[in-house]
Subunit: 126 residues, 2 copies
DNA sequence: TATGGTTGTTAGTCGTATCTAACATTTATA
DNA sequence: TATAAATGTTAGATACGACTAACAACCATA
C-alpha cells in the first residue's frame, strides 16, 4: 500500500482530476480522456492504479473523488507546473504554450533541490 | 525503419556507447550494464532496439559499432547534457553531481526552443 | 588444449501504459 | 417509460523496459 512514487503518467492524470474538481466540483472519465488525449479505456486503467495507491476514491461507474493524499500530491505537481511555466516564460522568453509544455515534461523529473533553486531564482529575477 | 524519435532509455544507452567508444575505442555490454546500473540482459535488449533503428551496428557476440546516425544523435544528447549541467551548476548553484543528474533527466524531454534559449541564457550569465 | 571464469544471449516473467472492439451501464429524451 | 446516445468497463493485443535463471560463447591460463 501507500506508494510514495508516482509515475509521470499517473501524475498527469491526478493533476487533471484535481484541476477539474476544483473548477467544476467533479470530473468524468471522458473529460480526462479528452484533456489528456488518451482513450476512455486508458482512463479506466489509470483510475484503478490511482485508487490502488489511494490517491483517489473510485468505484465502478462511481464518482471520482480525490483523497487527502491525492490532493497534496496534485498541489505539489501543480506548484511545480506553475513555477516552471513562469521560469520558461519570464526568464527564457518562451510563449505561454511552449513554456507550459516544457513545464509539463520537466515537473515529473526535476529534483527537489533543483526545483527549489529554480523557484528562488525565478522569484528574484522577475 | 529509421525511427526519428528515441526513448529516454535508449538515448541513455546510446550516450554511454558513444562516450565509451570515444574514450577507449570500443564498448562492451558489461561496461554499459555497470555504468547504467542495469542487467546484462537489459543491455542485450537495448542493443537490439538500437540496431533495429540503425543507431548502431551489432551482431550476436559481435563488436558494438555506432553508425553515423547514432553518432549525430549521441552528440546532440551529450551537447544537451553538458549545457544543462552547466546551467544547473553556474546559474542554480547545484553541485556537479546533482546538476548532472538533473541534466540527465531533462535532456530527453526539453523542447528545441527551450534548450536553445537556455543555452544562450547560460552563456550570457556565466 | 582443456577448463574455468567472464561475458553475452535467450526464454520467460512482470509492470506500465497504451490501443481497439465489444459489451455494460447510465442518462437524456422522444 | 422505452429507447437511443453517451459514457464507462472489460478483454485481449502491443510495445517498452526491466528482471532472473539458465545456457552459450569467448578468452585467459594452467
Amino acid at each position: 500500500m501507500a506508494e510514495t512514487v508516482l509515475s509521470s503518467g499517473l501524475e498527469d492524470y491526478l493533476e487533471c482530476i484535481f484541476n477539474n474538481i476544483e473548477k467544476n466540483g467533479s470530473v468524468k472519465a471522458i473529460e480526462i480522456s479528452k484533456e489528456l488525449g488518451v482513450s476512455r479505456a486508458s482512463v479506466t486503467d489509470a483510475l484503478h492504479r490511482l485508487a490502488e495507491k489511494q490517491y483517489i476514491n473510485y468505484e465502478r461507474y462511481g464518482k471520482i473523488e480525490i483523497t487527502k493524499k491525492g490532493t497534496e500530491k496534485a498541489k505539489e505537481v501543480i506548484d511545480k507546473h506553475v513555477i516552471l511555466t513562469n521560469f520558461f516564460e519570464t526568464i527564457l522568453n518562451l510563449n505561454h504554450e511552449e513554456a507550459s509544455e516544457n513545464a509539463c515534461r520537466i515537473e515529473h523529473v526535476i529534483t527537489k533541490n533543483a526545483f527549489k533553486n529554480l523557484k528562488e531564482f525565478t522569484q528574484q529575477h522577475k
